[in-house]
Subunit: 175 residues, 2 copies
DNA sequence: GGAATATAGTCTGTAATACAACATAAGTTT
DNA sequence: AAACTTATGTTGTATTACAGACTATATTCC
């Protein structure tokens, strides 16, 4: 639709550069653009959820990765522990998760989804998946798969390369 | 390096899912991870620059896209106009850009790089390009090119699809 | 031409947010 | 058991985004 008409004046890049040679810094611009577009749709998809996107991500992480404690959860999502405290307060208040004493370590709390939490997550996952598909609309299925593969591979690599600045650091504690 | 050894316990995904089938919401997680890793390296690369990454992006946009006025600049980068005012104040104070009256519209200011600004940008671009390459280290050159292509294509598509929520809206005024 | 309206930029105040610093309880080491 | 570390929670502070008001200039419509 409306593909290569006109002169692509609005392109942030020189129209027909083959792309491996982006202006330095453009990668961040494109990533930011995609992430912003994604966040917009994502937030809309999960508007029922307290704390919006992060609420969804916390609940999803709890259900799918079963982190051993709050710290592992926060580290996975890059959320500071002091921030996590009040984000979780909201989810608890909404009855979506509970803080239960961790069996192996009485200092720690394990976050578990309630029945309602699991149900809400299941319901929202369909909406989120649809939002992600909508975002990728302009890519064909091969491109989407390629992008998913590359993005996954790269994020793993980044995780391994700089564990300090990186939420995945504590992934080893997960599950 | 260290590829498929062990069980990939730290992976946020089921170890051997073929990736097109991510958990709903994982795309955002991976994108966020990449962007965060990028920002870390990026910020380090441009530490000389006032306002850090955004300072660099503003200066880069001014030089490479020559936006007609502040609004176009801010829209391109997704920066609110009231915020842009004081970010630009910093760049002006550092002698990197100037606000000159726009020739066609006396309400507007055109942002132009000073000699020092252009020189600093040139110097930092090498560092930023190196940082981006370092980020992509784990991808081979074909994969990097693929990623750049897909990311560019997708960000353009997003721009076209939702102009409202999107910084590119005002790209038409640029250049 | 001139009133009404729209737009570019700035300034001010407010609300959200992250984070540092401290506090507490429980595990670990020596 | 004394000293140290870790997991979480609490409080205060600084940053940051953004809404709203304001000025100056453009544009539109009569």
């Amino acid at each position: 639709m409306m593909g290569a008409m006109a002169s692509l004046q609005h392109s942030p890049l020189a129209p027909d550069k083959p792309l491996p040679g982006l202006i330095p810094g453009d990668l961040a611009w494109h990533l930011g653009m995609i992430l912003r577009g994604h966040q917009t749709r994502f937030a809309e998809a999960v508007e029922e959820m307290p704390c919006s996107v992060r609420g969804y991500q916390m609940l999803s992480t709890v259900v799918h990765h079963d982190p051993a404690n709050q710290q592992a959860l926060g580290a996975h999502l890059g959320i500071d522990r002091t921030v996590l405290t009040y984000l979780l307060d909201d989810l608890v208040a909404a009855g979506l998760v509970e803080r239960v004493p961790a069996p192996t370590d009485r200092r720690a709390r394990k976050i578990v989804a309630t029945k309602q939490g699991a149900a809400l997550l299941k319901r929202l996952e369909a909406r989120v998946a649809a939002a992600e598909q909508a975002l990728l609309t302009e890519l064909d299925s091969i491109e989407s798969a390629q992008l998913a593969r590359l993005v996954s591979k790269l994020s793993m690599a980044i995780h391994r390369a700089q564990p300090g600045a990186n939420p995945c650091e504590a992934m080893d504690h997960l599950g």
